[in-house]
């Protein structure tokens, strides 16, 4: 990762190693700037964001960008799909949105921009700062 603190990687959504590949990338890129357990927290949050993208959006590709701003690392996860957000209406666990909750709990700040059928693409921003 360059010292300017900016790097993007693209991943095929079908790849069986997408999530572990993303974890390697994000851990290596953020370790110079964050300590544990913050690196692990960020890696978990980005795993959840990417898992959401490949489960719910129908995208062919997921792009992950790492940016360093001051004492904070920001991860941007982008896809080309339309994120189908639904609330669970049946007894069970698959729709509990535990992943979204865990993602939010692991970072200092996050945002979700959800595209539409007319203008597809989901962008999730995750911010983790050195304490």
């Amino acid at each position: 990762m360059p010292d300017t603190g900016y790097a993007t990687q693209s991943y095929e959504a079908e790849s069986r190693s997408l999530l572990s590949d993303v974890r390697r990338f994000v851990a290596a890129a953020s370790e110079p700037y964050l300590e544990q357990p913050s690196v692990h927290d960020l890696v978990l949050a980005v795993t959840e964001a990417c898992a959401n993208a490949i489960r719910h959006s129908g995208t062919a590709e997921v792009r992950v960008t790492v940016q360093v701003e001051g004492r904070c690392v920001e991860i941007v996860v982008e896809d080309d799909g339309v994120y189908r957000m639904t609330l669970p209406v049946v007894e069970g666990d698959a729709g509990s949105h535990r992943g979204m909750y865990l993602m939010a709990a692991m970072v200092d700040d996050f945002s979700l921009h959800r595209g539409t059928d007319a203008s597809a693409g989901t962008t999730v921003r995750l911010l983790k700062c050195a304490s």
């Binding site: 190693s17 999530l19 959840e48 898992a51 666990d93 992943g99 909750y101 865990l102």
Partner: protein, 107 residues
Amino acid sequence: MVDDAFRVELSDDLDGARLSGEFDLLVYEKADVALSPLFDAPGDVTLDVSDLTFIDSSGIRLFVRLERAIRDRGVLHLRGPSPHIARVFQVAGLPDLGIVIEDARDA
């Protein structure tokens, strides 16, 4: 190179298993199949998670399902999590479901 491939090793008595590597959405089905004998366990089930290096919400989901399946007959124990993973268990609320998180030395 560190091998983080997810693996499951069932105990001979089918009352537990040892999990290792990284548990994420992309290994969920493999884990579900591998752990399926434990859903019919007659009593407590203990999963040794001391060699688990990562877990996401899909792993949490499988543990919640397993706990529900055995609830009438026994308790689910998760033994020896790393500090990171123990914190994920806490944040996800597993102790509130009656799942016991224990140190490796409690064995």
